[in-house]
């Protein structure tokens, strides 16, 4: 090997190692620019056009800057399921003719990485759809603009505080700021196959004990190996699902002052032991996040019950249409009290945006009840504003769920839901919990040991 080759190879090693840092953030998002005249450049979703308010152009207030701006909106809802439909954007642009919207599609999976890269380089969007679980990290790093300041505490002329229930409002707040405005919410209910429960003569479970009994009653061993392989309850080893059981058992994730882990207390241990028991007796199917969403396991009937949020209504309808009429939702069974994690999607304005006033107009517009209805009718999620939750679209019987009105149970669950703590170490805590839940649920550690290990990691992260 020549003396020239050696440094070349070492340099190649350096390139490959350092290159690992940024390669995933180089893809361009798909862009859909809607012209100021209102004509969509690209057809996207089939909008519920009638639901979109199309008022005449607003007469700008004296203080409003009407210099033409192009607003970049990063949207992870999906091209065909975004509530920012071409019709709705056209209506927005008709009302605010000096604002042109450049809506860009990004995948949820890679969104936060691209967002962080863009924000770090000062090239971020003006409006971004953000998963509420990302908010603690972003807010604690001062990445997000304060909407309280932008709107003077008002949204569409009314106090922001009056337009949300207590849970969402708290989730939107960091310190004394509103760092995001919730567009849809995520809280977990029980999804179950009504036909199977009925055939087994089992009532809809309301408590953990009833859930265990129902899971056992409907689980089947179809291949004769002595283990249930069909119609099982999906046990998910992640903080979202664990925290639901924890909250239902009267526990909390952190101490009241957010300085110490609290999830390894007796409430957390027995919550995890309950999940372990479901896996151990075969009525529960361990389904990790790496296994992906549940519809494949629902389609082949490995799963007949699970807890999850409103977006699963859409996943069921699109992923398992042949099971229409068989599914229902109910308040998730609990031990001591109802409870769920609270998440969803927030509309945020990066602090680096140079068009914050226009961005706030966009957010206000899309949080009006008419546009919020699109969150349900087009995106298949639950709108977060109180007015939208009382709208006619959400109170209609749903044929997929046998004529049930699923929103009722979600709304009830929303009242008892709690968002994840807003601490800068949250991502480390979340990771530590998830990793140690695995150990407990695959039988490699006791519930106490797994949660103690996670708590030690969480405490170390909080102490930094």
């Amino acid at each position: 090997m020549s003396r020239l080759t050696r440094p070349v190879i070492l340099l190649a090693a350096a390139v490959l190692a350092a290159g690992a840092c940024g390669s995933a953030a180089t893809q361009s998002p798909t862009s859909t620019v809607t012209s100021a005249s209102g004509g969509p450049a690209t057809a996207t979703a089939t909008a519920t056009a009638a639901a979109v308010a199309t008022p005449a152009a607003a007469t700008p207030e004296a203080s409003v800057d009407t210099t033409p701006v192009t607003l970049t909106v990063w949207d992870y809802y999906g091209k065909d399921t975004t509530p920012f439909t071409p019709d709705a954007i056209a209506a927005f642009q008709k009302e605010y003719p000096w604002i042109t919207v450049d809506r860009q599609d990004l995948d949820w999976d890679t969104f936060i990485q691209k967002f962080n890269t863009a924000v770090a380089s000062g090239q971020g969007p003006d409006v971004a759809t953000l998963d509420m679980t990302w908010i603690p990290t972003l807010a604690s790093n001062d990445v997000l603009a304060d909407m309280k300041t932008l709107g003077g505490g008002l949204m569409n002329g009314k106090a922001i505080a009056d337009q949300y229930a207590a849970g969402p409002l708290e989730a939107m707040t960091y310190g004394d700021k509103y760092v995001t405005a919730m567009s849809d919410f995520d809280a977990y209910v029980l999804y179950y196959r009504a036909d199977l429960l009925e055939a087994a003569g089992v009532a809809v479970p309301k408590t953990w004990d009833e859930l265990r009994a129902a899971a056992k009653a409907i689980a089947k061993d179809t291949n004769g190996d002595g283990k249930a392989d069909k119609y099982r309850y999906a046990v998910r080893p992640n903080t979202f699902h664990f925290s639901q059981f924890l909250f239902q058992n009267g526990g909390s994730l952190l101490s009241p002052d957010n300085t110490k882990a609290a999830f390894n207390g007796p409430e957390g241990v027995s919550a995890l032991e309950f999940n372990q028991s479901l896996v151990a007796d075969g009525s529960g199917l361990y389904w990790s996040d790496a296994d992906g969403d549940l519809p494949p396991a629902i389609a082949d009937e490995r799963v007949a019950m699970f807890s999850d949020g409103p977006y699963y209504m859409g996943l069921l309808k699109s992923g398992v249409p042949d099971q229409a009429g068989k599914w229902r939702v109910a308040i998730a069974p609990y031990s001591k009290q109802p409870g769920s994690y609270l998440g969803g999607t927030g509309l945020s304005i990066p602090a680096s945006s140079t068009h914050q006033a226009a961005a706030w107009k966009f957010i206000e517009f899309f949080l009006r009840p008419e546009q919020q209805a699109l969150v349900y009718t087009v995106a298949g999620a639950m709108p977060a504003t109180t007015a939208a939750l009382q709208g006619p679209d959400l109170t209609k019987p749903d044929p997929y769920f046998g004529g049930q009105i699923p929103s009722a149970d979600f709304l009830e669950t929303l009242k008892t839901s709690t968002h994840f703590p807003y601490v800068s170490a949250w991502s480390d805590i979340d990771t530590a919990i998830g990793e140690n839940l695995d150990a407990a649920l695959v039988g490699k550690a006791t519930a106490q040991k797994a949660l103690d290990d996670a708590a030690a990691a969480a405490d170390a992260a909080l102490a930094k």
Partner: protein, 289 residues
């Protein structure tokens, strides 16, 4: 003296002009980012607030964290297993294909095919094979054996990812070894046979020395690639269960996602140092007689 230097420079101008674009690209896209990453690794930096210099604290925190040491251990396991099996399989299949066997072109294409398929696609398919009720367990069951939930069992998840990577990569090694084998002069084998060398002696004293630089190439490239394993882990396990399949680059990406650019940069430099040392050792070994 000055005139000589000026004359030399003028004579070299066309050359400087020709290399200027490459130098510019290298400086802008390689040297500057590396220097910047090196600086960030000495700071607490979230990409928004100004970096706060903390010296070697990020490195100390990482290298004293049992979790990160386990992540290094996982990565080393992946590299050692992959490099112990993959190139050997590649060499063995290349030696076999170097004989006059029927359908050699078909075998060669078949072996190389997985290399041309996207690693994400390969990982997705293997993930389905490994499922509790996947094909692997169904085949085992047909023979009366019971499988496991390969990717959800901490003891089998990482080896399962390694197997996928070997399957995907050994076709490349086969083709490279095959090309190298065909460049070894036949006379060397004839001479060895005249000297009474059997098949093993020919392999040991003719084939292996003839492949020395190819072996160094395969191992340098393979080890660099293996240390940077990410795609398979992301698709198949997301580093789970527990941290049993979490690798250094996976951790780096996650730290970056969590806006810990200082820690992510420190991981990148730890990886760089490991790779530089490994590459240096391999090259020195390749130089020895």
């Amino acid at each position: 003296m000055a005139r000589t230097v000026a004359k030399r420079f003028r004579a070299g101008v066309p050359g400087y002009v020709l290399v200027a674009p490459a130098v510019l690209v290298t400086v802008v896209f390689l040297v500057i980012p590396m220097i910047q990453t090196g600086y960030w690794s000495l700071t607490v930096y979230n990409g928004v607030k100004a970096p706060q210099f903390v010296g070697l604290q990020n490195y100390i925190d990482l290298l004293t964290d049992p979790r990160f040491l386990r992540i290094i251990q996982n990565t080393v396991f992946f590299v050692v297993m992959g490099m112990a099996i993959g190139p050997v399989l590649g060499l063995a299949s290349a030696v076999l294909l170097n004989q006059s066997v029927r359908l050699r072109a078909l075998f060669r294409t078949t072996f190389f095919l997985p290399t041309m398929v996207s690693l994400v696609a390969v990982a997705t398919v293997w993930k389905m094979l490994y499922q509790d009720q996947g094909m692997i367990n169904q085949v085992l069951a047909a023979f009366g054996l019971s499988g496991t939930d390969w990717l959800n069992d901490p003891t089998t998840a990482l080896p399962a990812v390694v197997v996928t990577s070997i399957w995907q990569g050994f076709g490349f090694e086969t083709v490279v070894f095959l090309a190298a084998l065909q460049s070894i002069p036949r006379e060397f084998y004839d001479a060895a046979r005249v000297d009474g060398a059997g098949a093993w002696a020919q392999f040991r004293h003719v084939t292996l020395p003839g492949l020395r630089y190819t072996i160094v190439f395969i191992y340098v490239v393979g080890i660099i690639g293996s240390f940077q394993v990410f795609d398979q882990v992301f698709v198949m396990t997301q580093g789970r269960p527990g941290i049993s399949t979490r690798t250094m680059v996976y951790e780096l990406v996650e730290q970056f996602q969590n806006l810990r650019l200082g820690t992510a940069s420190a991981i990148a430099y730890i990886l760089l140092i490991i790779l530089a040392v490994m590459s240096y050792i391999q090259i020195r070994l390749g130089e020895g007689d």
